[in-house]
Every structure is written in C-alpha cells, then in structure tokens.
Symmetry: C2
Subunit: 381 residues, 2 copies
C-alpha cells in the first residue's frame, strides 16, 4: 500500500513537472540586455527562464549550460537549436553553450570574465534593477590605466572610477574605495557585470552617497613557490600577502599620486566579494593604519576577537559591512557560525557594524551589486 501511494505521488510529480516544462513556459520572452547589439537571442521571460538559440546545422547535440545544469536544445530540422532553462534568480549569470561536447561562448551574448574565462553572461530582469540602470544623471568616468609595479616587476592594469564632479571641482579631494572581485574573476568584474559606475552615479545623483573614487585592480594571487598550504588543503597561509604587498606598495601610492585623493586612513576603504572579501578582511585587519572602512560581500565576517587582536583596528574603524545573498545563508553548513551574530557582537564592542542580506539571490553578482549599493550609502558618514 505504501509502495502504491509512493508510485502515485511520483507519477503526479512527473506529470506536474512535464506540464510545467512544456505547457507552462510563459511566452513573454525578450532579448537579454546583455546581448550583443542587434541580437535577438538569448531571450529571458518574466519567470526568469533563459531561451537560447544556436545555429549548428550538423551538430548531434546542443545544450544550454547555466546555473550548473545542462538543458538540451531541440533542432527544428533545419539546424537551428532552441530551448529553455528552468527559472533563474534575478540578476547576472555566467553561462555557456555546449555543441557536440565543445563548451563555447554563445555567439549572441556579450562576454564577461568569470569562472576563469571570458564567456557568456545573461541578465535576468530584477524588480529593483533601476538602481544599476544607466540613467540620464551626471555621469562619472571609468578610467582604464596601466602602471609599473615594483613588487611584481611588471606593468599592471586597473580601472579607476571618478565621480561626475571630479573634472569640474578641481580643487576638491576625494576619499577612495579599493574594491575587489572574486576568485576566477578579474579587474573587469566590478566595472562590467558589477555595474559600478551606474550604481554610484545614481546614488550620488539621488543624494544618497558622497562622491568618491573607486579603484578596481586584479587581486588574483599566484601562490609563491614553496608556500605552505593549510591543513586540509586550504589556502596557503600567506595567500593574501602577494596582493597586499602590491596594494600597499604600488597601487595606493600610484592612485594617491595620479588622483586628487584624501590620502589618509580615515578616507580610505576596502571592500570585496568572495575571495576579494577574504582579502579585504586579511588586509584591513593587518593594516588598520591604512584603511578605516571595511566591506565583506559573501566572504566571511569579522568577530570582536579578531577586531581586538589587530592593534588600532577598533579605535580607527569607521565602518564594518558584512553581506550575503539569502540563499547562501539558507544553504550554509549546519553548525557554521551565523555572520549576523558576529555583526551584533561587533556593535556591542563599539564598532559601526552593518549586516545586509540580498533577497533571493545566491553567490552571484546580484548579491554584490546590492551590497555595493548598500555599502556606498554608509561610507564616509
């Protein structure tokens, strides 16, 4: 009897699922805003499904690979393959196309650097997308520049955002945020998929943030030869050193010499996502004389003990901001510490600490766009 019931409910689930997949796909697809100019596909519907279309006349199998799932596309008999994914979360996602076993970028999308490669990205419309939209407000500049790094004995590449008023208020000096990408990403992450300039331009135009400079550099670290790995195969114990040395000895002096910065710790912040958040934690705890504001997006938190163990950190700190996507918190390991409890404890220890949870997003860019939006409103206050 139990077996029969199980079978019936399984059948019902299968029927529901089949009808969900075939009949109930909403036919309100529009081209993704991350498409190449003039390209109709990929498309997205109001459920957040992605519809991909690829011409591959002689292929045997074509798949859309997004969110860790591969969806078979269907050949129309003329070599044009089309199909949809399950609904995706709001915001930006990396994806790729598989053609007879080859993983390649979708010829229809723009390309972004993440997961260790330049490849396809797609935008799922979000209810709050206006905060990162291009609006007709005073526009800052995203400046690409190169500089010589003594630490690495080579030329390096970074982006510097300057607010709209920077080129007209030529006597004014500005605070600076050093803003880092995640693992497998690079310095293009915040300017491109991060929508940094639009987010900050909009906040400044709306009077919600002070104008400030943002530096986005490449924090990818190469493990120095012979460096130890932690027990359990984790990051080597000196993993943050390489980028920290470059930041302190090359990047900050270069920025302070080429831009009108307020070159003191009170007006210098660091933030980052995932690996960049872990670097932010390590570097700001090691150097409270350099940074006074700290943002860690999906990259851990700081405990009162850690804050107190860094001489001068508590006294000099102006802001600690910790954030996560809600799905990251829902799916965290049983028994792991609750980062919101760390933030409450920091507040009790006298730190201006804030905790933010991005609704219904995972370890992805929509969490980090929202985190930057929240963090920027708390900076320099």
């Amino acid at each position: 009897m139990k077996a029969t019931l199980y079978t019936v409910s399984t059948l019902a689930a299968l029927l529901l699922s089949a009808s969900f997949l075939s009949a109930q796909v909403k036919e309100d697809f529009k081209p993704s805003t991350a498409n190449q100019p003039g390209r109709e596909y990929p498309m997205v519907n109001s459920e957040g499904r992605v519809r991909a279309r690829v011409e591959a006349p002689d292929a045997k199998r074509v798949q859309l690979d997004i969110g860790g799932v591969k969806y078979d596309l269907v050949n129309d008999g003329k070599g044009v393959w089309t199909g949809e994914s399950a609904p995706q979360d709001e915001g930006f996602h990396y994806y790729q196309i598989n053609i007879d076993g080859a993983s390649v970028p979708d010829p229809g999308s723009l390309y972004f650097y993440g997961a260790g490669r330049w490849g396809s990205g797609i935008e799922i419309p979000a209810a709050d997308e206006d905060f990162y939209a291009l609006r007709n407000v005073p526009q800052g500049q995203m400046r690409e520049l190169y500089y010589y790094s003594e630490v690495n004995s080579q030329m390096r590449h970074c982006f510097v955002y300057t607010p709209a008023e920077y080129d007209t208020n030529t006597d004014k000096r500005y605070p600076v945020l050093y803003l880092q990408h995640g693992g497998g990403e690079n310095e293009y992450g915040w300017p491109e998929q991060g929508k940094t300039a639009h987010i900050i331009d909009n906040l400044i135009a709306d009077g919600k943030a002070e104008p400030f400079i943002i530096v986005m550099d490449n924090g990818t670290w190469t493990r120095p030869a012979g460096s130890e790995r932690r027990a359990g195969g984790g990051l080597p114990s000196n993993w943050a050193d390489n980028f920290m040395n470059t930041l302190l000895n090359d990047i900050i002096p270069m920025v302070d010499s080429r831009f009108r910065t307020i070159a003191d710790s009170e007006h210098r912040a660091m933030a980052g996502l995932s690996m960049g958040g872990m670097q932010t934690k390590a570097i700001t705890l090691a150097h409270p004389e350099v940074f006074s504001s700290v943002g860690i997006f999906s990259g851990g938190s700081i405990t009162p003990d850690e804050a107190r163990s860094s001489k001068g950190f508590v006294e000099g700190n102006r802001l600690v901001f910790i954030s996560y996507g809600s799905r990251e918190l829902e799916n965290r390991r049983p028994g792991s510490s609750d980062p919101s409890e760390d933030v409450e404890a920091l507040k009790k220890a006298g730190i201006n600490a804030h905790f933010y949870v991005s609704p219904q997003t995972a370890h992805e860019w929509q969490s980090w766009r929202r985190s930057l939006y929240q963090f920027a409103q708390l900076l320099w206050k």
Copy 2:
C-alpha cells in the same frame, strides 16, 4: 603536348603545395598575445601561421575560419582538434571556429568587436610591434563615459584618451582628435585592437608627438526610413548625416565642456578607417570651420576639386593624411584612380598633404595602427 606540360606543372605545384603544408610548418609556435589569461591556444609561429586547438569530443568536423578561408582541424582520437592556417599578414585578424556548422568564438582567445559581432581575434607578431607595445613610459588614461544625445534622444557611450600629463598639468588645454572605426565595428575598435593608448603614450614619451586628447565614439549609422539609396545600391545619399549631426551637436560640445580642450578648428582633427574615413571626408569637407586636420585610412582620398568646392577648406586646413595597406593598392580595381596622385595634386594646390602605405598589409588593423602612428606625428605641427 601543351596538355601534358600543363599536367606536369600542375602536378609540380600540387607537390610543392603539399610539402609546404605538411613538412614545412615551422615548429616554433607560441601562444597569441590576444589569448585569454593562461591559455596556450591559439598559437602563432614565425611564419604567421595560426594553430588552433579545440576540445569537441563528439563533433564530426571542426574548422578554423580566418582570412576568408576555412582550415580543417584534425581529431587526435580523443576529441581534441588541432590544425594550422596558411601564413597570415602581420598584426591583428578577426577569426572564428566552426563546430559541426556552428560559427562560434574560440574559447581560447580574447574577444573583439568587428564584422558585426564580438568574436575572436589573434595577433601575428610584427617586426615593428614595439610601436604599439605596452612600455613602462608615462601612461595616459582610456576613459569610458556616457552622455545624453539630444540628436538621438538617448544615452550614448564613448571612450576618451587623455595623455599622461593631463591630470598634473591642470592649467594646460589640449587639441582633440575625433577618431572613427570602420563598418561592422564600434567605439571599442581603436581602444582595443587599435592599441591607441599604447601608440600615443609611446610617441609622446619618445618626443615624436604632442600630447593631445582622442575621442572614440560609435559612428555606426542607421539608414533613416525612406532615405534614398544611390544608383547601383551604394550608400544612401545622406548616409553621413546622422553621425555628423551627433558629432557636431552632441559629442563635440560634451567633450569641450568635460575636458580641457582648445575648442577651435585649428586644434581639432578628425580621422577614421574605412567607413570612418569616408565619414571623415564627408564631415570635414562639409565643416571646415570645425576641423582643420584630416586623416583618411583605407577610406578614399580628397581631390583638389573636392577641397576647393568646400568654402574655407583649403585656407583653414593644416593637414590632409591619406593612407592604405599595400595589398589594398595592389588589388585595387583596374582603372580606379591612384590616391597617391590625389595627394600630389593636393600638395601642388598648397595643402599640407601626406601619403602613407603600410607595407605588406591589407584592409586590416595593422594598416590602421601604422596609419595612426604616422598621422599622430604630423598633427599640430
């Protein structure tokens, strides 16, 4: 007897060709400098051959598509496909990979906008590549900015290069070059495959060019509804108007208000490649009160009659620069006019006219990098 001779020479040619293709490929391949970080393939050898490698375990046919020719790659039996092209000219080329009939970007390369799509590009090392190399010299900035266009009732996007000294010599004002891409390309062409910042930074560092500002906008025109096409199906008679109106009414005023320009015709130049060169010709002849220096790269020339038909052009002009890749001149239609003769005639008419031919290059970016390098040394003198 004639038939026999023909057969013998054909056989000889085939044998030569076969040995050339198989035995004589030089095994000194190195990763292309336009590869994604850490990617070994595609590679290039000292003959200028491209070796592509793609993983496509279940594919039936994989090809490298470069220079208008498709080269079959060979499966190693494990699904890794490898093969070489014939030698390519020095410099940058667009290319793509074909997998069972699907034309896709090569997952190993960086991506560039040309031929109407973001896709793969490759660099063939050039004897003169130092002029566009990243060197440890004072570095300018490539600034990305947005502005509202009244002409188009929308936000637009452009790049502005400022020389290294721009942010320190804050009392100095600078001349401006408006520099346009070709058909099927966009405003990313000159900053990325054009290597504009490196070329100008190096020239300024070597004392070969005056510091100046460069504006790179999107000159792609949409044919207005109902506009006439010329006899023979050519460009519509008003094809240059849309970009001209945007340039004169939106772009130039925006640049003159946001940057420290010398806002007169004497210190304003326009240049472009291919379609951008044709736009440069049309716009500078129509508005000699706006521009005094003119560069046309692979986009035609100006005759003395055309110059004289524009009131004030001859009197106000400081420079006319015409250039081509040598292969473009070699392959031009029999009976078509010789652009070097136009330049000689302009000189006789009192114009400071210059003609440049890029050695052993075609209608491609190496011709235009070299043209910019030559043109920049003649500007503002």
